[in-house]
């Protein structure tokens, strides 16, 4: 492998860029990135294969497929990672995560294959000394891997039930890094990739809220913090 860095994309982040018409900015980010943008086959199913059969989302699916054709996005097999290994690890990670939280004696199934496959690929790349982050917009997988005790509290609060957690497994979730489309667009904005011309504050605000409204789990408070950071 002749690269040292990679960003692994979950479905939601790519969907968010596509739904907001920000794929040119996505291409711009890849141009200045000295590494690979990767998606697993499980994520490709969600962002290309499934929506290609639904007229409402066919156009976005075709645009995302073009990113793969242009090698802006690449598959693990393109960089010599065994797809079967990812599938095997994906199943293990998913099954493990889905046996952590219990209520009324029943394990709560919290994550699916696409999200788990990002974790599997991250683990493989880290073992190969490739610096990597996972770009994920939805909140469950991020909270599970960054602060599982928060997910335990959230489940209990929302389900109005006592949650039993196998806390001894929490340490196994450590060691992964996550960013969201919001941080990526901030980079694009700071690096001059966003071509919109208007009042600076308005552009960043508009971009961040557009991403929030299409599924990026970011709070209003965090958006304000990013905007303050921009003014520093």
């Amino acid at each position: 492998m002749k690269f040292e860095k990679a960003i692994i994309f979950d479905a939601g982040t790519i969907i968010n860029f596509a739904m907001n018409g920000l794929l040119e900015e996505f291409r711009g980010l890849k141009k200045i990135f000295n590494g690979k943008f990767l998606i697993t086959k499980e994520v490709k199913i969600e962002v290309v294969d499934k929506p290609l059969s639904i007229k409402k989302f066919m156009l976005e699916a075709l645009k995302i497929k073009e990113l793969l054709d242009e090698k802006i996005l690449e598959m693990p097999s393109d960089i010599g990672v065994d797809e079967n290994l990812i599938t095997k690890m994906t199943d293990e990670i998913r099954d493990h995560a889905n046996s952590i939280f219990y209520t009324r004696g029943e394990a709560i199934q919290i994550i699916a294959s696409g999200e788990s496959s990002c974790i599997a690929l991250s683990k493989i790349l880290t073992e190969k000394n490739i610096t990597n982050v996972i770009a994920v917009d939805e909140r469950t997988i991020r909270v599970l891997f960054e602060k599982p005790e928060n997910l335990e509290s959230l489940l209990g609060k929302k389900l109005h039930a006592h949650i039993q957690a196998k806390t001894e497994h929490f340490k196994e979730f450590k060691g992964y890094k996550f960013i969201r489309s919001a941080e990526l667009i901030y980079v694009a904005y700071k690096k001059g990739i966003v071509k919109l011309k208007n009042n600076n504050f308005q552009i960043l605000d508009a971009l961040l809220y557009a991403l929030k409204f299409n599924g990026c789990a970011i709070s209003d408070e965090e958006i304000s913090e990013i905007e303050k950071l921009n003014k520093v």
Binding site: I7, A11, G12, I15, M19, I32, F33, G35, E46, I54, K56, F57, E60, R104, E106, I108, Q109, I110, I111, A112, S113, E115, T131, V133, E138, R139, T140, R142, E146, K147, N150, L151, S153, L154, K157, K158, L159, A161, K177, F178, I179, E183, L184, Y186, V187, K190, K212, F213, N214, G215, C216, A217, I218, S219, D220, E221, E222, E225, I226, L229
Partner: protein, 187 residues
Amino acid sequence: MQEKENVLRILEETKDAILKEDSVKLKELSNQTIHTASTSQDPDNIAVAVVVYSLSKIIERKQYQGFAGWKKFYVEIVSTIDDSISSIKNSDDKKLREGLTKIRKTVSQLSGKLKIYIQDVFRKAEINKASKIYEHGISMEQTASLLGVTLFELASYAGQKPEISDVILNKTVDVKKRIKTAMEMFQ
């Protein structure tokens, strides 16, 4: 089917609310189904949540009652709920499943504008319930697959819910630290 007694009560109260045209009560009943649907992820529990929520919207929109086919649709829905109640009482899961499927079939047998509107109500109900389950802490992809909705639909619907994105428990890493991680990747 999980928590049969609870579902039985919900269906009995649903029938009562339909007869009284009480859409608020129906919405409340639909919300009560979502905890079980989130934990059990049982297709029958999820179907009940979607059906009850759809009925709340259908009953709320009085204008539907003026469309051709309304009367027949209404009678069939009430009768199917009656059958579903009997199925639970008889512990006949297969018949209950058939009943829940029959409600969807009743919609496909409609024609004209009423069919289009009610199909749309059911589709939006699936997305709404998916968003609710996601709100309960189940991942977006897992939820989308349970409800048979796309991530495209769910992401844009759930993204507009502050009860999901603005929850304090979502905050796991300081945003400045996350920005730093992103910037470092691009150095």
